[in-house]
Structure formats: structure tokens, C-alpha cells
């Protein structure tokens, strides 16, 4: 693990909403190409941490660095431009567009052509459009939604919408992907397929930070786990270390997990 270069550093980040402390003094790193999970009970500050990393929230103290760039003060779309892309906890798609058009919107970063070129339909803009359509079809196939290409995204099942969300994030060509509870609402076989998908994403060289409640899934897929409770990190390590950490068992896993 030590040989990896560091992709993201979270350095003494704190978030306070008035008197409420959502995160107090959080520091950890994520290595390039690593799958790291952030776990903890509800309200532990996991989603808040995501919001800080992707510029939706400004931390009260500390800062996040991604590939050498300090993210403080950057807008979400600027952070997305660095290749740091997130998914959302609740289902988040463009509901009235087809799945295929959803991906085309997600491909925004790849499709930037000059406005005038697009309006005049110049060859460069057309070639770019062809590339995007090609890429959207590939992504659909890759997440296994090609049969749903022309259905409105809002009409899909919960699990399928989550896949659309991931495909959308992948369309934005991330170098690091933040997944916020991606398998909540999925059944066992969907979850199993999703784990394969995450490994596939990592094999493409994309770093992954995962927030998830599904413990068996987290234990299977993670290289390293960071445990949050009441806004502070209480443990950090490989799945085996975490499984046997007394503080974690106390706070989160419950006493049954140690025997399981």
C-alpha cells in the first residue's frame, strides 16, 4: 500500500453548521487506484465529507487536495473538471430524458466544442457529436443497460437508476469516483453485479472512494476502510483490521459481527 502515490489528501477538515459539528478534524488519504470505503452510522458525516470533497460545501477548517490541487474555493463544476466525479445518495438521474440522452449529458466534458461550430454544424462539431454517441453506446453496454436506452430514465427501477447514475459519472471521465451508497435499494444479485462493476472501474485505473452501509459488500470490495463516528475517525485499516477493531464493533458493527 505504501508504494502507491497519493491521489487525495483530506487534511484536518472540519464542518460545523452553526453549533452542530458534522465533521471534526478529519484527516486521511486515498492512494491512486485504491478502493477506499468510508463507513459509519447514520449521521456520522459521510455524505458531508463527500460534499466537501466535491465543492458542494465549504469546510469550516482544513482543506482537501486532489492530485496536487487544493480544492478550497473551487466550484463543483471546476472540481469535476479535475476528474473528481461523484454519484448521489438518493437516486439522481435526468428523469425526463432517455437513458441514452442522460449519458450524452454526462459526456459534457468530452463534448465541448465552440458554440458557433455547433450552431453552424461544422465538421469538427459533427465529428465530436459522433464520438459522443459512440461513447454513450459503449457505456450503456458496459453497465448493461442497452435494452433500456430509449426509456425515460425516471421510469426505470431503483437499481437500474443507480446504474444510470454510475454510468453518468463514468461518462464524465473521472480519474477518481466518489460513490455515495450505490447499492442501497439493490437486491442481492444486483449488488453482486455492482461489485463486479466497481472492480471493473478500478481496473480502468480509476480511484474509488465508497460510502456504503452494506457491510458484506464493503468488506469484499475495499482495499482499506475508514470508520467515522460522530464526525471523527475512530479507525482506519484493511477489512480484516476493521472487522476486529473493538472501537468499531462498539460503535457500529455490533457485537454479533465479531463472531460472524
Amino acid at each position: 500500500m505504501t508504494a502507491r502515490s497519493i491521489a487525495m489528501t483530506i487534511d484536518q477538515v472540519a464542518v460545523r453548521f452553526g453549533g452542530l459539528v458534522a465533521i471534526s478534524d478529519m484527516s486521511f488519504t486515498v492512494g491512486e487506484g485504491e478502493i477506499v470505503s468510508l463507513i459509519g452510522p447514520n449521521g456520522a458525516g459521510k455524505t458531508t465529507a463527500f460534499n466537501v470533497m466535491t465543492g458542494f460545501l465549504t469546510p469550516s477548517a482544513g482543506h482537501v487536495t486532489y492530485q496536487g490541487t487544493t480544492l478550497t474555493g473551487l466550484k463543483p463544476h471546476e472540481i469535476a473538471d479535475l476528474g473528481l466525479i461523484r454519484t448521489f445518495q438518493r437516486t439522481s438521474v435526468f428523469p425526463n430524458d432517455t437513458v441514452y440522452d442522460n449519458l450524452l449529458i454526462g459526456l459534457h466534458r468530452q463534448g465541448r466544442v465552440r458554440l458557433l461550430d455547433a450552431i453552424l454544424g461544422l465538421p469538427g462539431a459533427r465529428a465530436s457529436e459522433r464520438r459522443l454517441r459512440q461513447r454513450a453506446s459503449e457505456l450503456l453496454e458496459w453497465v448493461g443497460l442497452e435494452r433500456r436506452a430509449h426509456d425515460a430514465a425516471g421510469s426505470l427501477s431503483y437499481g437500474e437508476q443507480r446504474l444510470v447514475g454510475v454510468a453518468l459519472a463514468l461518462a464524465a471521465e473521472p480519474s477518481m469516483l466518489l460513490l455515495d451508497e450505490p447499492v442501497s435499494g439493490m437486491n442481492a444479485s444486483e449488488t453482486h453485479r455492482f461489485v463486479e462493476l466497481i472492480r471493473g472501474i478500478r481496473d480502468r485505473g480509476i480511484t474509488i472512494l465508497l460510502v456504503e452501509h452494506d457491510m458484506p459488500m464493503v468488506m469484499t470490495v475495499s482495499d482499506r476502510i475508514v470508520v467515522l463516528n460522530y464526525g471523527r475517525i475512530i479507525a482506519e485499516g484493511t477489512p480484516d483490521v476493521i472487522r476486529n477493531d473493538p472501537a468499531v464493533i462498539e460503535a457500529y458493527l455490533g457485537h454479533g459481527a465479531g463472531r460472524a
Binding site: S92, L115, A125
Partner: protein, 348 residues
């Protein structure tokens, strides 16, 4: 199918002056056409970004005044005994300036209000239109105030080698408006089908998600506002040179409302919607004139709008299109799904 309808519609519209000789009806069609252009520009904001501009007539009026003043010339005093004198320029230059300056105003209004959006944008646009109206009313030296700018010259098209063609007849003006309307339609169509249009749609449907995949909200909305305002300015210029007299009443709130009604009834977010809605509400006064006083007509408009939205809640064009696809998909539900357009690779 869609292409055939479009071509038929264009041929029909182009043939109108050949069989319609009644100058009153032709005049109604020209002014309706000008308002349809305005409605299309409003639809670009309201239908494709979800931002309601309730001061849209300001850009239209600015276009009208800029174009009129450029072609009439003016002589105004500035602070410090400076006089700004502008000799009349050809109206076609006024037309171009109208587009540029209206677009510039769209840029500033967008920049001011899109940081907060929603209700703020509505309020900023209403106030902007009111401020512009008061300026037009009170800066008498420049605008003649309520006395109106009169004798605005008709547009003259420079024809290389033949001098120029002054558009005086109704037929000529009809074709001018038709051509500008077609260009505006094509421009908006290209725009909303480009990656830029997808960014606008993404922002309207789910802003948080759109931002997370790298779409810049302020930039996207501001560009939409600029193009929308510029098209409205072009319509205003056509109006000034066709009617040949403008006064501050052009900025009246009711004119914005008329455009909003045209967009909503025809169907916001559809390209043909404002055209259909615009034709209905532009020509309704002609149809009602023999039977109703102008004041009573407003009641009838309200009734027609309610009737349309009751039967076709999303507006005429989207609702009919939806019914059509539903009927068709009833017969082809089991057909294999093919990926669309431009030779995209079929998944195995």
C-alpha cells in the same frame, strides 16, 4: 415524417402572399410573425432552461429603439456641454446593432440574476423592463418620450451591383419577417440539439447532478440569455421598421404576457410550440374583431388559453406529440430497440 411536416409548413407560409391579397390580414400576419420570433426567443429561456423572463419585452423594445435611433439619428446633450450627434445610418445597420445591444443587455441581466435564479430572475427581468420603459418615457431628448419616434425608415437590403431594395410593400415585409423567423428557428434548433442544449436541459432537470458532471451553471444560463435577448432584439428591430413609429408603450407588461401565453399554449420546450401558440394568439384578434370589442377580447383569450391547457396540459405541440408516439408505440412495443441516429454502434 417530421421533416415532411416542416417542409410543408414552410411552403405554406411562403405561399401566403401569393393568394392572400387582403392587406389587413397580411398586416396581422406580419405583426404576428414578429411576435412569434419574440415568443421563440422567450421559449429558449423558459422552455429549455426553465428560467421565466417576465421582462422579455425589454429586449424587444431595446432592439426597436436602438434600430430606430440608429436610422433616424439623434442629437443629445451630455454632461459638460458635450453634444452627441449621430447622423442617420442605413436601417440594416440598425438591425445589426439592435441584435448586438439587446444581446449585451441579456448578458448583464443574466450575469446579475443567474447567481441566484428562480424567483430572483423573474423579479430582475420585470424590474429591468420597467426601468427601460421609464428611461424611454423620460429621456425625451433622445426618445421623444410619449410623443413617439416617428417616420422610422423601412429596412433597405443592400444588393451588390443593383443599389438597394427598400422593403415598402406588405409582401416584401412578410418575406423579410418569414426569413428572419426561419433563421431564428434554425438557430434555436441547432442550439438545443447541440451539447450546449443538453447542458441546458440537464440544468433544468437536475441542477445538482448537472453540476457534478462538470456543467457550468452561470455560463450556460448566461449564454442562453444572451442569445434569447439578441433574437428578441432582432424582432424588435423588425417591428420598428415595419410599424415605423414606436413609443414607450412597446415596453408594456402586457406584451411580455402575450409572449408567455404564446409559449405556454403552444408548448414550452418544444421548437414548434411558440410558432403554433403565436399564430393562434396573434390571429385570434383578427377572428374576434367582428364579434367583440377589444376589451372583451382579453376575456376570450383567457378562455381559449384555459381551454387549450385543459385539453392539452403540456401545451399543444408536446401533448399532441406524446399522443402520437403513444399510439405508435402501441403497435411497435415489441420491436427491438435500436440506438439512434448518426450510425451509432449497435450493442450486441
Amino acid at each position: 415524417m417530421r421533416a415532411i411536416i416542416t417542409i410543408l409548413a414552410v411552403i405554406t407560409l411562403a405561399s401566403v402572399p401569393l393568394w392572400l391579397r387582403d392587406p389587413y390580414l397580411l398586416n396581422a400576419l406580419i405583426t404576428t410573425g414578429i411576435f412569434v420570433i419574440g415568443a421563440m426567443s422567450l421559449n429558449l429561456l423558459l422552455g429549455f432552461t426553465g428560467q421565466l423572463s417576465l421582462g422579455h419585452i425589454a429586449f424587444f423594445g431595446i432592439g426597436a429603439y436602438v434600430s430606430a435611433l440608429t436610422s433616424l439619428g439623434f442629437d443629445i446633450g451630455l454632461p459638460g456641454d458635450v453634444r452627441l450627434v449621430h447622423a442617420p445610418w442605413p436601417p440594416i445597420i440598425g438591425f445589426v446593432l439592435a441584435i448586438l445591444i439587446a444581446g449585451l443587455c441579456g448578458y448583464f441581466v443574466g450575469l446579475l440574476s443567474f447567481r441566484v435564479r428562480g424567483a430572483y430572475f423573474v423579479i430582475v427581468t420585470i424590474s429591468f423592463a420597467e426601468v427601460v420603459r421609464l428611461v424611454a418615457l423620460n429621456w425625451v431628448e433622445l426618445t421623444q418620450g410619449p410623443l413617439a419616434l416617428t417616420n422610422i425608415p423601412s429596412i433597405a437590403l443592400p444588393l451588390p451591383g443593383f443599389g438597394e431594395l427598400t422593403l415598402r410593400t406588405k409582401m416584401q415585409n412578410y418575406y423579410l419577417v418569414l426569413v428572419v423567423a426561419l433563421i431564428a428557428y434554425l438557430l434555436i434548433a441547432r442550439l438545443v440539439h447541440s451539447h450546449f442544449g443538453r447542458a441546458m436541459r440537464g440544468l433544468m432537470e437536475n441542477e445538482t447532478l448537472a453540476v457534478s458532471v462538470g456543467i457550468d451553471v452561470t455560463r450556460t444560463l448566461t449564454i442562453a440569455a444572451v442569445i434569447s435577448a439578441a433574437i428578441a432584439g432582432a424582432a424588435g428591430s423588425l417591428y420598428a421598421h415595419y410599424i415605423r413609429i414606436i413609443d414607450p408603450e412597446v415596453f408594456a407588461f402586457i406584451n411580455t404576457v402575450t409572449m408567455v401565453i404564446m409559449v405556454i399554449s403552444g408548448g414550452k420546450g418544444s421548437l414548434a410550440g411558440p410558432v403554433i401558440g403565436g399564430l393562434i394568439f396573434g390571429l385570434l384578434p383578427v377572428a374576434l374583431r367582428p364579434v367583440m370589442a377589444p376589451e372583451a377580447q382579453w376575456i376570450a383569450y383567457g378562455g381559449v388559453l384555459i381551454a387549450i391547457l385543459f385539453v392539452l396540459p403540456r401545451g399543444i405541440v408536446p401533448s399532441l406529440a406524446q399522443r402520437l408516439t403513444r399510439q405508435r408505440s402501441g403497435t411497435t412495443a415489441l420491436a427491438p430497440v435500436a440506438l439512434p441516429e448518426t450510425g451509432a454502434k449497435e450493442p450486441a
